[in-house]
Symmetry: C2
Subunit: 330 residues, 2 copies
C-alpha cells in the first residue's frame, strides 16, 4: 500500500518561510517568516539568490526548533538540484536530495517523517524552494528576452520553506500522521504553459487513493491544499475527483491561487516548489497555531518534464504527494 501510516507520529517542531517582493505584496504577505525584496538577495546571480533562500529557510527553521538535525531532505527545480546541494555545502549537515518537481515540499516531508518514524534518526528537516528568474531562464527563456506569457501560464514563486521534524512527542502537538506517495500519471498534455492541466490527473489519483486507503473523505479534514494547480488545474481536479466518487467542498484550496491576488497579473496563479513550501511554512502553520485547523491534507503537485523531454516531443507526466498534518492529543 502506498499510503504511509506513521505509528510514531513525527512532531513538527519548527518551520520557516522566506519569500520575495511580489509574494510579500500578495494576500499571504504577512504570513512569511521573512521577506527579501532584493531579487538577487545580495548575490551576483539569481541562482545564487535561490541558494541563499534555501540556506535562510533551513537555518531559520533549525533556529526556531533549537535542535541539531540529523539529516536534511531538500530539492528544487534547477538542473541537478544545485540550489539544495550548494546550500547544504555551507550548512554542513548530512543531506539527501529528493526530486518531485513542484511536489518536492510534500515529498521531502514524507521522506523526512519516515526517517523519524523508523527511529533511525531523531530530527530531520524537509525543505523546498524556487525562484522566478531561475525557473524562467531554465524552463522558458531568460527574463531579458521579454517573452510573452500565454494566459494559462503560472508564475513561479520566489521563496523557500523548511520544516523540522522530531521523534520527541513532548516537543509539539503538531504531527505528521500519514501520507500518500504519488504515481506518475500522464494524460498526454504537451502544453508547457498549462501545467495545471498536466498535474491535475496525478492529484486526483493521489487524493482518491489517500481517501480510500485511510477510509476518510474530504469533509474529514479542516482543509485540503493542493500545491500549484492554479485555476485551470483546480477545476480539473474537482471534476476528476468527482468521477472517482469524492466531492471537494469549500475546504479545498490551492496554494497557487491563494498566494497572489488577481491584480498581480499572474494569470492562473503561483507555481514552483516554493509556492507550496512558503504557504505551508507560513499561512497553513499559522492556522494551526491559531486553532483554526486541527487536521489538514497538504498535497503538493509536480510536473516531471524537462526542456529536453519537451523538445523531443514528450507529453508532461504529473505527480502528487500528500501529507496529513494533524494536532494530536498525546
Amino acid at each position: 500500500m502506498s499510503t504511509l501510516i506513521f505509528k510514531n507520529r513525527p512532531r513538527i517542531i519548527g518551520w520557516y518561510s522566506v519569500a520575495g517582493k511580489k509574494e510579500s505584496e500578495g494576500p499571504l504577505g504577512t504570513t512569511f517568516s521573512r521577506v527579501v525584496k532584493d531579487e538577487y538577495f545580495g548575490e551576483k546571480t539569481h541562482e545564487g539568490a535561490e541558494r541563499k533562500l534555501f540556506e535562510t529557510a533551513i537555518q531559520g527553521a533549525i533556529q526556531v526548533a533549537k535542535v541539531q538535525p540529523d539529516i536534511v531532505f531538500a530539492g528544487d527545480l534547477l538542473n541537478q538540484i544545485v540550489s539544495s546541494s550548494f546550500a547544504m555545502r555551507d550548512i554542513g549537515l548530512p543531506y539527501a536530495g529528493v526530486y518531485g518537481a513542484c511536489s518536492t515540499m510534500a515529498l521531502s516531508l514524507l521522506v523526512a517523517a519516515t526517517f523519524v518514524d523508523a527511529g533511525v534518526v531523531q530530527t530531520t528537516v524537509a525543505a523546498a524552494g524556487s525562484h522566478f528568474a531561475t525557473a524562467e531562464r531554465q524552463y522558458r527563456t531568460p527574463l531579458e528576452f521579454g517573452n510573452q506569457r500565454p494566459p494559462c501560464s503560472q508564475w513561479t514563486v520566489t521563496g523557500a520553506g523548511a520544516t523540522v521534524l522530531s521523534a520527541d512527542s513532548k516537543k509539539s502537538r503538531l504531527a505528521i500522521t500519514a501520507g500518500t506517495i504519488g504515481r506518475v500519471v500522464d494524460y498526454g498534455v504537451k502544453d508547457v504553459n498549462n501545467m495545471g492541466a498536466a498535474m491535475a490527473p496525478a492529484a486526483a489519483d493521489t487524493l482518491a487513493r489517500h481517501f480510500k486507503n485511510t477510509n476518510t473523505k474530504p469533509a474529514d479534514y479542516d482543509a485540503i491544499f493542493s500545491g500549484d494547480l492554479g485555476q485551470i488545474g483546480e477545476e480539473a481536479l474537482r471534476d476528476l475527483l468527482k468521477d472517482k466518487g469524492y466531492e471537494l467542498g469549500e475546504n479545498y484550496h490551492d496554494c497557487g491561487k491563494l498566494i497572489y491576488s488577481v491584480d498581480q497579473k499572474v494569470d492562473m496563479g503561483g507555481s514552483g516548489c516554493g509556492c507550496s513550501a512558503v504557504t505551508l511554512n507560513g499561512y497553513i502553520m499559522d492556522k494551526f497555531q491559531s486553532g483554526e485547523y486541527h487536521k489538514v491534507i497538504f498535497m503538493a503537485t509536480g510536473a516531471l518534464l524537462s526542456p529536453t523531454t519537451c523538445f523531443q516531443g514528450e507529453s508532461i507526466p504529473g505527480i502528487a504527494n500528500a501529507v496529513v498534518i494533524e494536532e494530536v492529543t498525546e
Copy 2:
C-alpha cells in the same frame, strides 16, 4: 547521528542489472543480468534508451523478487531526473525521486531501506542508472562534436541497476543493516574532468563517520566498495582516510576501476550513476551468492555540480552515501 542502524534489517529479495556493449566487454561483463549492445536500445534517442534501461532494470528486479512493490525510489543524472520519472510513467507504481548524482544507487537504497524498516510499507525498490551519450551531451558536448578527453577524465557507464527490499525476513538472508548519509564536502576542485579528486574528500568524510559511529574498522568488512572515484580518487581516498586514522587494505575496491579493463581506453575508469548500480546488482551480489562475501560496505560517490554552476565559476561539491549489506543468520 547520521549513521542509520536498521533494527528490522530490510531483506534484499531481488536485483537486476542491465549494461551496454562496452561494459559487457569489460572484466564484469558476465555478471550483468542482461546486456544490450544497441546504444539506442531500439529507441529514437539516447535519452529514450536511458529510460528503457531504467524500465528494464526495475521490471527485471521485480520479476526476480516476484512481488508487487509499494514504492520505487530512483534517480539519474539527467536534468529533472527524467529517465527515472518517465520510466515510472509506464511502470505505474508509486514513485519518489532521489538525487545524489553518482551516489544515487546508495542513496536510493538507504531511503528504500528506511521505508521498509519503519514498517510503513512492505516492499520497496531502489534504482539508478546512466548512459554514456546522454551524460556527454548534457555535461560536456554531444558525441558528434568529437571532444578530446583529458587523461584524468572518466567514462560514464551505460547501464542501470535495481534492488528490491522486503520487510519479510523469511524471504532472504541478505539484509541492509546500516548506512551513513553523506555530507556535502567541497575542497575547491574546479576541474570538471577530474571528478575523482572532487569526490574523494566526501568519501573520506562518510567512511570515517561510518567507522566511528558503528565502532568498526576497514578490516571488519569482506569488502569496501566506492562507486566511481577512479584511479586518482581512489588514491586520494586512501590518503585522506589515513589522515583520519583508518587504513584501507586490499579489501577496498572502486567500481569505476573494476568495470573496465585498461585496454578499453577509459582513462581513470568508469563513472555515472550506472557504474555503482550495475556493479552492485551484478558482481557484488554474485559474490554474496557464492559465499565469498558476508559483510560489505557499498559506498557510492557523487559530484553535485551542474553545467550552470561550473559556468558561474563554482567549485564541485562532492557527497558519498554508504550502505552496509550483510548476510544475517536470523
